[in-house]
């Protein structure tokens, strides 16, 4: 089945099984490997991508659900000025250790700050609660979001 969508500002049309996971399409068909599989059941958030600006678990999303939507992965987002602000904040606070959860964390951070430029600590923790990290204890990531919020992502 032919399915079309926009990914990282480029239109793609793919002939794929519509029940295929969006994650597999991104990684195996489009070879964008910044999106990770940590659990395959929507618990860890390592596969987070933005669909029409909203973070979703791409492991739970059949590719048909992406039809005619706008998908952003870390490969697209890293080209933006907003990415720079968030990545610098993560670097400043030590928010990335092994790095496997990091692309997902960064996309969720962007989505939060876009909707809520000055979140409270509780709002930050709530927004990131679907993304697991086993290295940092989250402290450095939460602090990084605070730093990014102070700096302000340019929208």
């Amino acid at each position: 089945m032919k399915i079309s969508f926009v990914i990282n500002n480029q239109k793609v049309s793919l002939d794929v099984d519509p029940t295929m996971r969006l994650l597999d399409v991104i990684r195996n068909e489009l070879h964008l490997t910044g999106t990770k599989e940590g659990c395959g059941e929507g618990e860890c958030g390592a596969c987070t991508v933005l669909m029409n600006e909203e973070p979703i678990n791409s492991c739970l999303c059949p590719v048909i659900n992406a039809a005619n939507k706008n998908i952003m992965t870390i490969e697209g987002f890293r080209e933006t000025s907003e990415y720079r602000v968030i990545a610098d904040a993560f670097a400043d606070r030590g928010g990335s250790q092994c790095g496997f959860c990091t692309p997902g964390m960064i996309l969720v951070t962007y989505s939060l700050l876009k909707k809520n430029p000055h979140p409270t600590e509780e709002e930050i923790r709530f927004a990131l609660s679907g993304n697991l990290c086993r290295c940092t204890g989250y402290q450095a990531i939460v602090d990084a979001v605070k730093v990014a919020a102070v700096k302000g992502i340019k929208l």
Binding site: T35, G38, G40, E43, F90, G137, Y138
Partner: protein, 696 residues
């Protein structure tokens, strides 16, 4: 927020944040076949044969019959077979592999394979010891003079590492070598495992480390099993092969933290002075010993925690059960025994009707004290200062009195602990024999090689910095890449909190040596061997002597509140102080501090893994839950500088230390909140309900 004045930019920041870092599963190799394990469904049975369906073209079944030389995985005990042969000893043990071009087809074919079993009686309880160790200090015959004896038992549960990247391995042939890229901790463990099972030359195997998404001990030994299996397969299949575990396979069939059962008795004279303590630590090693004897050693050496007693009787057993083998996990046995002793000494104070902190301070270790293994605490100890600082940060003294009186279901607990850095005893000099290669080209560009893996701890950054700072050259004049066994000599495994204290010290020494002989415009190369402190003498058989080259110290304070209706626990605050010698990079150190404590708190109250008839009941991250952002509060950490003379720039180990004290601090806080004694973790709401339903 802290300012990290001592920190430099992490070398892998950009690649990891931008999604550019290539993990094993990201390596593109379109012609690679897939391998899927065919696993035992029985916990204990004679294996009469294996039914394998007729395989389509290009699909293979690989089993013990295909072993080239030795059906043994090269892990310390050498008792774990590459493929089960004639007998299976746990559910999930690999009896073979299905290998072929399509992963879905491999999974389907593997599901059709069936063992032909003759069932044997399985053992799931800790009753059959396969490793026993014991040692004493002082005169334990004095125990019989005791006027009072106080005894308690403690248990701890399984813990799954939950590195975010599941186990993954890719193997292929290139330039007449077997090349391995995998999610790993110890490139040379994998290298040796392949050489041993194939009986090939060392030069026939090359191990290269890609980006690794967390490990925590879980990728210390299990990848050796995967490597031996894939190596057996590649000899027959002659194609690149990938074996990637999904999360369910990873939780269900790979190694975990040893569950433990610890019994402690204290013997008191008429004046309530402690004559001595007797401790037995039992750990559940699972079906194969693997590294359990070393885990047991560490648990026993740490069994009296940070307290000195004149007379000590310590023994322990690792037990064989028909379950997935337990193996390395941050702390390596000491979190289990220290959890028990920290609770015990507090309970003992209650029994003796004396102030808890006073009793602890009375027996607190001091510089010059004799260790439980009759070695010496040689270096300055600042534990008292660490405790004072942690109490001040957390307002401990005020809160501990307040919560003792009120019925607010709040509590605060404080733990004190140590961690021996590096391999036990003279293991660094006698077994590992690290050698570090460093070279310089005509333009003054320095390259050095270690076998240390950076799976998130930041050691790529710190080791590089140790070399550039020692040479007093800019960091961009130093090249330090991930290990490749064709280039690097073994500087040992990335384990045992040894990377900075041992390899960092070696790197500094090699760099200082190069600086001494530096000649501009010339190519120069040095191979620097590790030489341990000469005072370290250790008798492994008798467990006597200096167990570690150095010790790192810590204090954790945890404050909790308990919902009196749902029994859910909320962690309200965490305050920590550490002596890691001198912290080379404070930001990296804070990452270890926060992450270690978070993982320890998960072990203490959230992470429940239970085996029923040899099968784990929790198989996914939906039912095995690790802490999320919502489960943890802000964590405050301070360091006290106490430079160690043998570490690079005074640094000791830090990776495991930060795990050790979380569970006892949590349990002590919980005790105060609910007014009951805690003896077991994880302290789930069900456990708390049970405690509250019974009188103390």
């Amino acid at each position: 927020m802290k300012k990290f004045d001592t920190s430099v930019k992490k070398v892998d920041n950009e690649e990891k944040m931008a999604g550019l870092a290539i993990f094993t599963c990201d390596i593109r190799m379109d012609d690679a076949y897939f391998a899927v394990q065919v696993r035992s469904e029985k916990a204990h049975a004679k294996l009469k044969g294996i039914y394998v369906p007729k395989l389509p073209k290009d699909y293979y079944f690989i089993s013990a019959k295909d072993i080239v030389k030795e059906n043994v995985v090269n892990i310390i005990a050498s008792d774990w077979p590459v493929f089960a042969d004639k007998k299976v000893n746990y559910i999930g043990e690999a009896m073979g592999l299905i290998v072929g071009p399509d992963k879905g087809m491999c999974l389907y074919l593997a599901s059709l394979c069936k063992g032909e079993y003759e069932e044997l009686e399985p053992v799931f309880e800790m009753k059959n010891s396969y490793v026993h160790k014991e040692f004493t200090k002082g005169d334990v015959s004095k125990f019989k003079n005791a006027k009072k004896v106080f005894t308690e038992e403690f248990t701890t549960g399984y813990q799954e590492q939950v590195y975010l990247e599941p186990q993954a391995m890719l193997m292929y042939m290139e330039n007449n070598q077997i090349v391995v890229k995998a999610s790993m901790q110890c490139p040379f463990y994998i290298h040796k495992a392949i050489v041993r099972t194939l009986g090939c030359k060392e030069s026939d195997v090359r191990v290269i480390q890609p980006a690794v998404g967390g490990a925590f001990g879980g990728k210390e030994h299990y990848p050796s099993l995967m490597a031996a299996q894939l190596a057996t397969a590649i000899v027959k299949v002659k194609k690149p092969i990938k074996m990637f575990f999904d999360r369910k396979e990873d939780i269900t069939y790979t190694t975990k933290r040893h569950p433990s059962k610890t019994k402690i008795s204290a013997y008191m004279d008429a004046k309530n002075n402690i004559i001595g303590v007797k401790i037995h630590v039992g750990i559940d090693g699972g079906a194969y010993i693997g590294c359990s004897m070393v885990v047991l050693s560490r648990a026993l050496i740490a069994a009296t925690d940070v307290y000195t007693f004149e007379n000590v009787d310590i023994s322990g057993d690792a037990y064989c059960t028909n379950k997935v083998p337990s193996a390395a996990f941050r702390g390596f046995g000491s979190p289990q025994s220290i959890f028990a002793f920290e609770l015990f000494i507090n309970h003992l104070a209650d029994y003796l009707k004396v102030d808890r902190m006073q009793l602890r301070m009375k027996y607190l270790v001091k510089q010059g004290d004799v260790t439980s293994t009759s070695g010496l605490f040689r270096d300055p100890i600042v534990l008292k200062e660490l405790a004072d600082k942690a109490m001040e940060m957390s307002d401990y003294k005020h809160k501990v009195k307040l919560y003792a009186k009120d019925k607010s279901f709040r509590g605060i607990g404080l733990s004190m602990f140590l961690h021996g850095c590096g391999f036990t005893g003279s293991g660094e000099s006698d077994l590992i024999k690290a050698q570090l290669r460093i070279k310089k080209d005509k333009n003054g560009i320095v390259t050095f090689y270690t076998s240390q893996v950076d799976f998130g701890q930041g050691n790529r950054t710190t080791l590089k910095r140790i070399v550039s700072d020692t040479l007093e050259i800019p960091e961009d004049q130093v090249i330090y890449d991930a290990p490749d066994t064709n280039e690097t000599l073994s500087t040992g495994p990335t384990a045992a909190s040894r990377t900075i204290i041992i390899v960092g010290g070696l790197a500094a020494k090699a760099a200082a040596h190069l600086k001494q002989i530096w000649k501009d415009g010339e190519e120069q190369e040095i191979i620097e061997p590790y030489v341990g402190p000469s005072y370290i003498k250790w008798d492994e058989a008798k467990m006597q002597g200096d167990a570690y080259p150095g010790y790192a110290w810590g204090v954790n304070v945890v404050e909790v509140s308990v919902d009196p209706i749902t029994y859910e626990v909320k962690i309200e605050g965490c305050w920590s102080t550490y002596d890691v010698g001198h912290a080379i990079d404070e930001r990296i150190l804070m990452g270890q501090a926060d992450g270690g404590l978070a993982q320890a708190l998960g072990w203490a109250y959230l992470e429940k893994e239970v085996a029923e008839n040899g099968m784990f009941k929790q198989k996914t991250l939906a039912d095995y839950s690790i802490p999320t952002t919502m489960d943890l509060p802000n964590m405050e950490t301070e360091l006290i500088d106490n430079p160690f003379k043998y570490g690079a720039f005074g640094a000791k180990g830090a990776g495991e230390l930060t795990f050790v004290g979380g569970a006892p601090a949590f349990a002590l806080a919980l005790e105060q909140a609910i007014g009951r004694k805690v003896h077991d973790i994880p302290a789930t709401p069900e456990y708390i309900m049970e405690l509250l339903n019974h009188e103390n």
